[in-house]
């Protein structure tokens, strides 16, 4: 059984790294039709063409194939054992070898890894996933594994910030727009998707941000998401920073429980033009 899980996880990872979901494909088509800046339109068309070639030929969308992140959702009738966790780990390594992922795992002790002096492992499967995030869900029989691939650019520009809200939603929104606008300007790989989690700690906010990436939809946007997208796009950064109306294709926002306090913790990641790279497996 665990061999079967590993195989399916490998396939899921490859799907995450080589395909666009339908709603993102449609978001690009919509943006191409509506973009008035010629250079920006050319960039959008090229990204869409790249997505088609990547899917047809099973090639990575981006040579930065990313660091695997895993969100597991499990209902009360299902069991997550150590052997299943191991099978997921093995499936990730197998998927990275097969895609193929970029060999970018650093070797050596802590200091060597930090200063990149211990060499680079030439095995793509040596790129270990981040610690798994496990969440219980109210659907009793669910065992769902989401695989996300995090590229370096968005990780450079992502932030977790404490926002003093002054009991006013507009203060929170202004702060998010300011953070996002700066990140988008420096990202390079726009148009981006803004993924945002708001929680009570840095960990919780980032966990919520990951949920936003998994469940966000380009064709279903609430008023807060629409406002953030619209305000960041108003700055006119555009695809690759070349100007135009489409710096951001959509915003995926997840607001969690909050505490009685003057502060909200915001985790924001400007996902690049290929992200969120995510695929889901139901076990």
């Amino acid at each position: 059984m665990t061999n079967d899980i590993s195989k399916k996880i490998a396939e899921t990872l490859i799907k995450a790294g080589t395909t666009f979901p339908t709603d993102r494909m449609n978001a690009y088509k919509h943006a191409i039709v509506n973009e008035t800046n010629k250079r920006a339109k050319w960039v959008l068309e090229t990204i869409l063409e790249n997505a088609k070639v990547a899917e047809e030929e099973a090639l990575p969308l981006c040579d930065d194939t990313g660091i695997p992140h895993v969100l597991i959702e499990i209902g009360k009738n299902r069991c997550l054992s150590g052997s299943v966790m191991t099978a997921i780990q093995e499936g990730i390594a197998a998927g990275l070898r097969a895609m193929p992922g970029r060999p970018m795992a650093l070797m050596g002790d802590a200091s060597q890894r930090l200063e990149q002096s211990g060499g680079i492992d030439d095995d793509p499967g040596a790129v270990l996933p981040a610690p798994f995030l496990v969440k219980s869900v109210c659907e009793d029989d669910v065992f769902r594994v989401h695989i996300l691939l995090y590229g370096g650019g968005p990780s450079i520009r992502g932030q977790v910030k404490s926002v003093f809200h002054k009991h006013c939603m507009s203060v929170v929104m202004d702060e998010i727009v300011a953070l996002a606008s700066e990140a988008v300007l420096k990202l390079g790989c726009t148009p981006c998707t803004l993924s945002i989690g708001i929680g009570r700690s840095q960990f919780e906010a980032t966990a919520l941000m990951i949920e936003a990436q998994v469940y966000g939809k380009y064709d279903i946007q609430n008023d807060l998401e629409k406002e953030i997208t619209s305000r960041v796009n108003a700055a006119g950064c555009g695809p690759l920073g070349l100007g135009g109306e489409h710096s951001v294709l959509a915003t995926f926002l997840k607001v969690g429980s909050q505490r009685a306090s003057g502060v909200r913790i915001v985790s924001i990641r400007p996902d690049c033009c290929f992200e969120p790279r995510v695929a889901t497996l139901e076990l």
Partner: protein
């Protein structure tokens, strides 16, 4: 569309304007964070000849090269952007990457007859346009080593030229 191939002359560079679409073919170098400062260091010590490579009129693509393909990394990362002007003094005429670069870099490129062009990070397409690849220096850096690629029709947009930048003007 202006067609360029290395070695690129100063005259060719001086004719480029911000916003021009260019098509690059032929041999280019690919390198990024790890090795660009090393190249600058060798140049500063007048030891570049140890690599047996000519950088006069050359193109450097800010990219890793691996089995996952090629694609531009962010050129505004500290080690990359800080190498661009010194490398231009060593003869590099065209830097290809992505992301906004600072005003000092934009001016420094202009002072040394060099330009910066950005290219969409479309790895599946770009990889198919790289018809040869050869590791030419710093093999210990793995995917971040210095590679020489032969490419066919890389299309990019000039983002910084003559002291002007597409990101600020």
């Amino acid at each position: 569309m202006k067609v360029l191939s290395a070695p690129i002359s100063k005259k060719d560079i001086d004719e480029l304007e911000v916003g021009d679409l260019i098509e690059v073919s032929g041999y280019i170098f690919a390198g990024r964070d790890s090795i660009l400062p090393k190249l600058v260091g060798l140049g500063d010590e007048s030891r570049l000849n140890e690599l047996n490579l000519s950088f006069e009129g050359s193109v450097i693509f800010h990219s890793a090269v691996s089995i996952a393909g090629i694609g531009p990394t962010s050129s505004n990362k500290l080690e990359i952007e800080s190498s661009m002007v010194p490398l231009s003094r060593m003869g590099v005429r065209l830097h290809i990457g992505k992301g906004a670069i600072g005003e000092d870099t934009v001016r420094g490129l202009a002072d040394n007859h060099a330009v910066f062009a950005i290219i969409p990070p479309v790895s599946a397409l770009l990889t198919s346009l790289a018809v040869e690849k050869e590791l030419v220096a710093f093999p210990e850096e793995g995917m971040e080593a210095l590679f020489r690629l032969k490419v066919r029709g890389f299309t990019a947009i000039v983002a910084a030229a003559k002291g002007k930048s597409i990101f600020t003007d």
